[in-house]
């Protein structure tokens, strides 16, 4: 996992090199704001695993291997009642479908890396890293500093999740779930979501997605998340198209008022203060 994707040294050397890299430090710094929420969520997931009847070694094994909070929480009740494996796996797949969409965006940044390195990046790419990364690198093109940035953020996220998760497993009976500590995780995601709202289209898409997710909540396998994504993508595309349509006349106006056009006559105070439509001003 070196920044360049080759494997000449051991993992320890890689991590030391990473710790010195300024871009990796930036990645860590960008994750610190949400670490508290991720940690609370990890703690609650750890406790929930043990409370669902799993023994501690198995729960630690699950936490370290699966590393997907929302999928883990979704399948715990199923595993607790001994649901068939295909139901467990299908549920997790549906909850994880959003990552399939994210992966098409990760590809823009990392397609040139060897496949092994791409898979390693994919495994460690959670929701919060995705959002932080896309905010830091909005242009979908590869840059050399993205790889250390990613691994810095990924290490921070991994520690912020696994340490509280394992602590929750070991201290399950001392942490009361009734306190609602998982709410901190929701607040962390809420903060991330708010930081993504930039314009009318993103606001609308968010409202549509929230409404759809609640309306379709009764669907099995957490399919309401997929319904919400489909609804929000449609709404986003529609409002983009509407915006383009509405913006066309002012756009033409600015193009026409270049130096080649005769200057507009000074406004006559006796005239009503209504701007003429572009068509009316056309020579």
């Amino acid at each position: 996992m070196t920044p360049q994707g080759s494997q000449p040294q051991g993992l320890g050397d890689d991590l030391r090199a990473l710790a010195r890299d300024p871009h990796a430090r930036l990645g860590v710094k960008d994750m610190i704001g949400t670490c508290l929420g991720i940690g609370a969520w990890g703690l609650v997931t750890g406790v929930a695993m043990v409370k669902s009847g799993m023994d501690a070694p198995m729960a630690i094994f699950m936490s370290l291997l699966v590393y997907a909070g929302s999928a883990q929480l979704a399948v715990l009740p199923l595993m607790a009642v001994g649901a068939p494996l295909w139901v467990v796996w299908l549920t997790a797949s549906c909850v994880n479908l959003r990552f399939v969409i994210f992966s098409s965006m990760w590809r823009n940044y990392f397609h040139y890396l060897p496949r092994k390195h791409r898979l390693a990046i994919a495994y460690f790419s959670g929701d919060v890293i995705f959002v932080a990364f896309m905010k830091r690198f909005p242009k979908p093109e590869p840059r050399p500093e993205q790889v250390p940035y990613f691994w810095g953020a990924a290490c921070a996220n991994w520690l912020a999740w696994q340490i509280p998760s394992i602590a929750g497993i070991l201290l399950a009976n001392a942490v009361p779930l009734s306190w609602g500590l998982g709410f901190a995780g929701v607040l962390a995601l809420l903060g991330v979501l708010l930081s993504m709202l930039q314009d009318r289209a993103t606001w609308l898409a968010t409202i549509v997605a929230s409404t759809a997710a609640i309306a379709a909540f009764a669907l099995p396998l957490k399919l309401n998340i997929l319904v919400a994504i489909a609804a929000a993508v449609t709404a986003g595309l529609l409002i983009e198209a509407a915006d383009r349509h509405l913006r066309r006349p002012p756009f033409r106006l600015t193009v026409r008022s270049r130096a080649t056009d005769p200057p507009l006559p000074p406004a006559d105070p006796s005239e009503p203060a209504v701007a003429p439509l572009p068509e009316e001003r056309r020579p």
Partner: protein
């Protein structure tokens, strides 16, 4: 000693494979899979939609039903958290403010 550990271990290994395959999906092939342009533009709304879809039921539903009382600690907590976010643009503070409102109401008053 029973074989009861086999099935959870199988389930967990399968779940790990699902994590990897779903997160890697479009990064697995060496060549890019062609996607239509409108879909690419539309997919930029997918991340926030996914987040909103995970959060909204957590904020506004109780045991699968829409919230039916205003005496719920989540509502004032979210209002304060959102307000703080737009004031300071700081996620850590948003979590702290939200929990500072939530915990006393939830544990103290049982909302």
């Amino acid at each position: 000693m029973s074989w009861s550990w086999v099935e959870p271990v199988l389930a967990i290994i399968g779940l790990a494979v699902i994590t990897l395959v779903s997160r890697a999906f479009f990064m697995i092939p060496e060549r890019e899979l062609p996607l239509p342009g409108w879909l690419k533009r539309g997919l930029k709304y997918a991340p926030l939609a996914a987040l909103a879809a995970v959060i909204a039921p957590e904020l506004f539903m109780t045991q699968g039903r829409f919230i039916h009382t205003l005496l719920d600690a989540r509502l004032p907590a979210v209002a304060c958290a959102v307000g703080y976010y737009f004031w300071r643009r700081d996620i850590l503070g948003t979590i702290v403010v939200g929990m500072a409102v939530y915990l006393p109401l939830h544990i103290g008053l049982g909302w």
